[in-house]
């Protein structure tokens, strides 16, 4: 008994010594937490605005609470319903197309054995990632313009008789956005897949070669299963981002004629919240987006937990 008490006392003294020794870590942590509270956690209190008729003069505490009125307005607004559809559709299309392109590019590049060929291609593939969306949409716009390369090719091969104004028709908008995302990020997204392929045990390929497998079979039975864990983890991480991927391209490429398919939740928030100064409505739309995103992450995580060992948390 007595010894235990003594030990406890020792422990406590050790503990204090340890705390003293960690003083620097504690001080840094304090400032980091303070910074995090101000810039990341404090804005969460702003969510209250979604349930208020927020007036900047009255502040968060003085403004009148209106319950779910703002949400009711949102879901009765035919535009917002379209906006939700657009955000989901483009988010999903982009996720699927960019993932397929990245995996495809990684696998095909991995089949190139000569370094002098592989290296430059890889370097080129990263280039678009370093360009801003302003530059990318500008370049894309020129390529698709009446005198641009796409119309030029289509005219030359007689596929069309007159140049198409691609940005005037809603049917072209989603494919254009998907293409823009693939063009910009394929090489970059492939980096992780290439790393995963490199990590596959080479003896597997050797064994397959002895068994007479051709390259396509090796890809199917060794490479693809080898990158499956990476694929699943990235898919998990990106599912939560599906709704976040809808702002810059759509904002920069959209115009009056394609509004019905180009507007996303973020653009809607910007329009109502910032331009019209209806902070409450903007916040409500943003809150809806956040809630759905979190739901998606939780669902994806639960699904992954059920079907394999891959999990985010």
């Amino acid at each position: 008994m007595a010894q235990n008490k003594k030990k406890e006392k020792m422990d406590r003294r050790e503990m204090w010594k340890e705390i003293k020794r960690q003083k620097f870590l504690m001080i840094v942590s304090f400032f980091m937490v303070a910074y995090g509270i101000v810039f990341y956690y404090w804005p969460l209190t702003g969510w209250l605005m979604a349930f208020q008729n927020y007036k900047p003069k009255k502040g968060l505490l003085g403004s009148k609470f209106v319950g779910l009125d703002k949400f009711r307005f949102l879901f009765e607004d035919a535009v917002f319903i379209k906006v939700i559809r657009n955000t989901f559709a483009m988010g999903l299309i982009n996720l699927v197309t960019t993932t397929i392109m990245a995996v495809l590019f990684a696998i095909i590049l991995n089949e190139v054995r000569r370094a002098w060929l592989k290296k430059p291609i890889q370097t080129i593939s990263y280039l678009p990632h370093f360009l801003s969306w302003i530059v990318v949409t500008g370049i894309l716009h020129d390529s698709l313009s009446a005198t641009g390369i796409i119309n030029d090719i289509l005219l030359r091969f007689g596929i069309i008789k007159q140049a198409i104004n691609f940005f005037a028709f809603p049917k072209y908008f989603w494919p254009i956005v998907a293409f823009a995302n693939c063009w910009k990020e394929t090489g970059w997204n492939a980096i992780i897949y290439l790393a995963a392929i490199t990590a596959i045990d080479p003896s597997l390929y050797e064994a397959a070669a002895i068994d007479g497998a051709d390259r396509l079979q090796k890809i199917k039975y060794i490479t693809l299963p080898g990158i499956k864990p990476t694929f699943l983890i990235l898919l998990l991480m990106n599912v939560g981002n599906v709704l976040n991927a809808g702002f810059e391209v759509q904002y920069l490429l959209g115009n009056g004629l394609v509004q019905s398919v180009s507007q996303t939740i973020d653009i809607y928030v910007l329009k109502w919240g910032i331009s019209q100064n209806d902070y409450s409505l903007g916040t409500a739309a943003g809150l809806f987006k956040s809630a759905v995103s979190i739901l998606l992450i939780v669902m994806a995580n639960a699904l992954a937990k059920r079907y394999s060992e891959q999990r985010l948390f």
Binding site: E18, Q22, F24, L25, M32, G36, V38, Y40, Y41, W42, P43, L44, T45, P56, L104, E111, S125, Y126, L127, P128, F130, L131, S132, I134, V135, T137, G138, I139, H141, D142, S143, A146, T147, I149, D152, A168, W183, I191, I192, A195, A196, A209, G212, D214, L216, G240, L252, L253, N255, G256, L257, V258, V269, G273, I274, Y279, G286, S290, S293, I294
Partner: protein
């Protein structure tokens, strides 16, 4: 790598077909990636009126430097360039330091609040207030309408911190312990022992931050729209480009032919000018972002 040679005799025909498919795919990929960029460069060096006729591909038809002269005569471009360089340098330095310090703290195995502090930051990756609450916060803090809005709010990012944490966790603990026996405090360990070993991951994160800063335009538009002295290069480019983009939705650019120098060549010149620094730089930093992305992406 050499096994192909060994089995050359028994190489199936399907493999030869496959090689052709690989080659064609990569060729098309490279063309699609490079062509629009090269075309933009060609246009930027072409005479404005001549460019209206179209059909300029990889090389200017009627060479001219007028577009660049016009772009560099724009006052806003120079203001934007100054602000962009300033924010990129300042934010890269401060943000790198802050993220590294935080990563150092949460990667100390004996630190008492290690897991709590980690969780506190990981949460910020998934939950955020959204555009409006953040906008109002910056306004209340007096950050809108100032240069500081470019570097203070985004100083710490959980993603960058986690990339560095993963790297630091791979450094043997014994190094820290022996330094402590010599009487070194944690700051000394951070400065003299961990940081020199972390140069590769610091370079990675610095590149991520710098590219992000260089390419930002939305913050300039949202927070500093009225303050022309804090405009950025990308935002100025956006203003140049968007006037044309809006037209394609309506009357088409029929009127443009009348101008001495059509917008497309000037836009191209401005585009090339803004993308040039990064395009020149990134090939040399390749190994850094490749390793950085690999540790950060797969482990977390």
């Amino acid at each position: 790598m050499n096994e192909n040679k060994e089995y050359k005799v028994s190489k199936p025909i399907s493999d030869k077909v496959f090689s052709v498919v690989v080659f064609v795919f990569l060729l098309v990929f490279v063309i699609i990636t490079l062509y629009p960029v090269i075309n933009t460069v060609a246009l930027s060096f072409n005479d404005g009126i001549d460019a209206v006729r179209g059909k300029i591909y990889l090389w200017p038809r009627k060479f001219s430097l007028k577009n660049y002269k016009t772009v560099f005569a724009m006052q806003n471009i120079w203001v934007g360039a100054k602000v962009t360089v300033g924010r990129t340098v300042l934010a890269t330095l401060t943000s790198l330091f802050a993220n590294a310090l935080l990563a150092f703290v949460v990667s100390r195995k004996r630190f008492l609040f290690k897991s709590q502090l980690s969780l506190f930051w990981v949460i910020t990756m998934y939950v955020n207030g959204g555009m409006i609450p953040v906008f109002l916060l910056y306004r209340n803090l007096g950050l809108t309408g100032t240069f500081h809005v470019y570097w203070i709010p985004g100083m710490i990012s959980a993603f960058n911190m986690l990339v560095m944490r993963t790297y630091m966790e791979g450094i043997p603990e014994s190094l820290e312990e022996s330094a402590q026996l010599d009487g070194a405090g944690y700051f000394t360990i951070f400065k003299d022992i961990i940081s020199p070993l972390c140069k590769p991951v610091y370079a990675t994160v610095a590149l991520f931050i710098a590219v992000w800063q260089w390419n930002s335009w939305f913050d300039a538009m949202l927070y500093n729209r009225m303050k022309t002295q804090y405009t950025t290069l990308q935002y100025e480019l956006m203003k140049l480009l968007s006037s044309v983009m809006q037209q394609s939705g309506s009357a088409e650019n029929a009127k443009n032919g009348a101008a001495t120098i059509t917008p497309v060549t000037i836009r191209s010149a401005a585009t090339v000018a803004t993308m040039l620094p990064i395009v020149m730089l990134y090939p040399f930093l390749q190994r850094y972002f490749v390793t950085g992305l690999t540790i950060g992406g797969v482990k977390e």
